[in-house]
Amino acid sequence: MSSNYNITSFCHIKNHQVSLNGTVVFSEQHVGFSEFIKAAYKHQKTNYPKFFKMDHLSKLAFLAADILLKNLKLDSEKENNIALVFSNKAASLDTDISHQKAIQHKDNYFPSPAVFVYTLPNICLGEISIKYKLYTENSFFIFERFNAEHLFSYTNSLLETNKAKSVLCGWVELEGDNYEAFLYLVSKEGHLQHNTQQITTLYNT
């Protein structure tokens, strides 16, 4: 299956590396996720203090999205109709475990709203929407593994029904020190045709 749209750009964050359109732009070996993502944020000169209060899943998703979106040089005065369609396997399990720890023992009971709010996978979509003023379609799906067919078909439906001009979509998985982000932007621009084969190939690079 194919469509009239292209994959404009794509970003990976995995194996201690950040890459944009297949080229490594940052690498920091031998550190855990927390230090790695902070170093990547600094290297990318992201300069967005709200980043530091985000949970790990949001940091991962936010940084990958930011690398692609800032590359578009969007006009912040204008509205950008970019929909967000994200997916993963573990949902917000990483932060769910933190909240569970805070309530497990009654003699050490400390649930916090700042943690609890991140026990929803779609919060990372909210974080990206706030930074880029995206008053757009947001959906978060859970699958056993990366599902190119679903992302392809759902993204096409948003574009073909004019619900969005472009769609930022992909996979953002995080559990402990295991993390993997693969986000790509689908629009009229670019040379890589938007189809499931292409999505799968890019995911595996």
Binding site: K89, A90, A91, L93, D96, I97, H99, Q100, A102, I103, Q104, P111, S112, P113, F116, V117, T119, L120, P121, N122, I123, L125, G126, E127, S129, I130, Y132, K133, L134, Y135, T136, E137, N138, S139, F140, F141, I142, F143, E144, N147, H150, S153, Y154, N156, S157, L158, E160, T161, K163
Partner: protein, 387 residues
């Protein structure tokens, strides 16, 4: 354009185990909310609407399960089974499955829970439902906070109009857990009394539990008597705050506007609004602002949270199903818990259950992460006349 209908449906709840008995209880203004004293769930007593465990066990065992299932899975399977049976649709590769939930089997993370913590993966929940009924397609799990239930309806419609599926079954559900109660309590969002959506004296939400299921189909044949056509849908983010609603109702306003545009209807053509109405100060105020911006302030509106509490990822589908029955019965149901208007913009909250001819309704929801969804539904054909 391919049409998409909402047809056979079921609700498993504190107010009954099928949609008709639930709606009958709503007609009689019976609420499922009760004061619960369970210090394992929350140190202080709280109001909730819980499903009767014995009745659930009895209904579920009739399906002859071959292995152990969690409470949520029992609710979802029992509910979806009813819809599969009444629809008589054979499962093949043209039939999709959507599972909508915010927290799924989150109670499996608790060390005292008999299930392994791997059960908390939402993909496991999807797989268990899929395998129980032997759906050919993998379950699509939607977890988008409190809009999950109605977002699933929008997603099913898109899949049908993309010609990916002919029929989509949606099952949605969440359970009342210590995980959820402690979290909302840490936000100081829980009410110490039955919730009072839009009321001047509202003090917050109650958490409740249901499972709700529905068939979404492109076929206009063999529809349920209360079936509706999905005319429009839209989802828009507030781009404002992750845990507080927008002061201007921006995302909700846009969602309603775009859903109306797609439906090719004006605000004046909406007969009823099934709103979100969680009974927090900020949410209800935000909705009133958005409805006014859309010129919907005179349309009769209710929140069903006074009957079920907030049932999270299931609430949107639950309330859509009640809305379908409301249309079929040509009856506006009282917004339980409401007495005196407590929002700064005028809205027309239903204060008395009333017979009135109804053709179309708007269902809305909003949630954490700044998400909002609106869908517009129209009675499909048959009407029951007792106006």
């Amino acid at each position: 354009m391919i049409k998409a209908y909402l047809s056979y449906n079921n609700i498993i709840s504190s107010l009954g185990f099928n949609s008709e008995s639930v709606v009958k209880n709503i007609h009689n203004e019976v609420s499922g909310l009760q004061l619960i004293k369970d210090n394992k769930a929350l140190p202080e007593p709280f109001y909730s609407a819980l499903i009767d465990s014995e009745a659930l066990e009895k209904a579920f065992l009739k399906l002859q399960p071959k292995t152990d299932y969690t409470r949520l899975e029992k609710m979802m399977i029992t509910s979806l089974n009813e819809v599969l049976q009444s629809s008589k649709i054979k499962l093949n590769d043209r039939v999709g499955l959507i599972v909508s939930t915010t927290k799924g089997n989150i109670d499996a993370l608790d060390k005292n829970n008999p299930f392994p913590k791997e059960r908390a993966y939402l993909s496991e929940l999807g797989k268990n439902i899929q395998e129980f009924f032997k759906f050919e397609n993998e379950a699509i799990v939607v977890s988008n906070a409190c809009v999950s239930g109605i977002l699933s309806v929008a997603i099913a419609k898109r899949y049908i109009q993309q010609n990916t599926y002919d029929h989509v079954f949606i099952v949605s559900g969440d359970v009342v857990t210590e995980f959820i109660l402690s979290g909302f309590n840490s936000f100081q969002a829980l009410s110490q009394e039955p919730c009072k959506p839009y009321d001047k004296n509202r003090t917050g939400i109650n958490i409740g539990e249901v499972a709700a299921s529905i068939l979404v189909t492109k076929s206009s044949e063999n529809l349920a008597k209360e079936a509706v056509e999905i005319l429009g849908e839209s989802s828009c983010n507030d781009a404002n705050h992750i845990s507080g609603p927008s002061r201007t109702g921006e995302g909700l306003y846009r969602s309603i506007k775009l859903a109306l545009d797609q439906a090719n209807l004006t605000a004046q053509e909406i007969d009823y609004i099934s709103a979100h109405g969680t009974a927090t100060m900020f949410n209800d105020e935000m909705e009133a602002i958005a409805f006014n911006r859309m010129q919907l302030q005179k349309v009769p509106l209710n929140s069903l949270k006074g009957y079920f509490g907030h049932t999270l990822g299931a609430s949107g589908l639950l309330e859509t199903i009640v809305g379908m029955h409301s249309l079929y019965n040509n009856t506006l149901y009282v917004s339980k818990g409401f007495d005196t208007i407590g929002v700064t913009k005028p809205i027309n909250v239903i204060t008395k259950t009333t017979s009135r001819e109804l053709k179309t309704f708007l269902k809305t929801a909003s949630g954490f992460g700044g998400c909002n969804t609106a869908i517009i539904l129209k009675k499909s054909n048959q009407t029951k006349n007792h106006v």
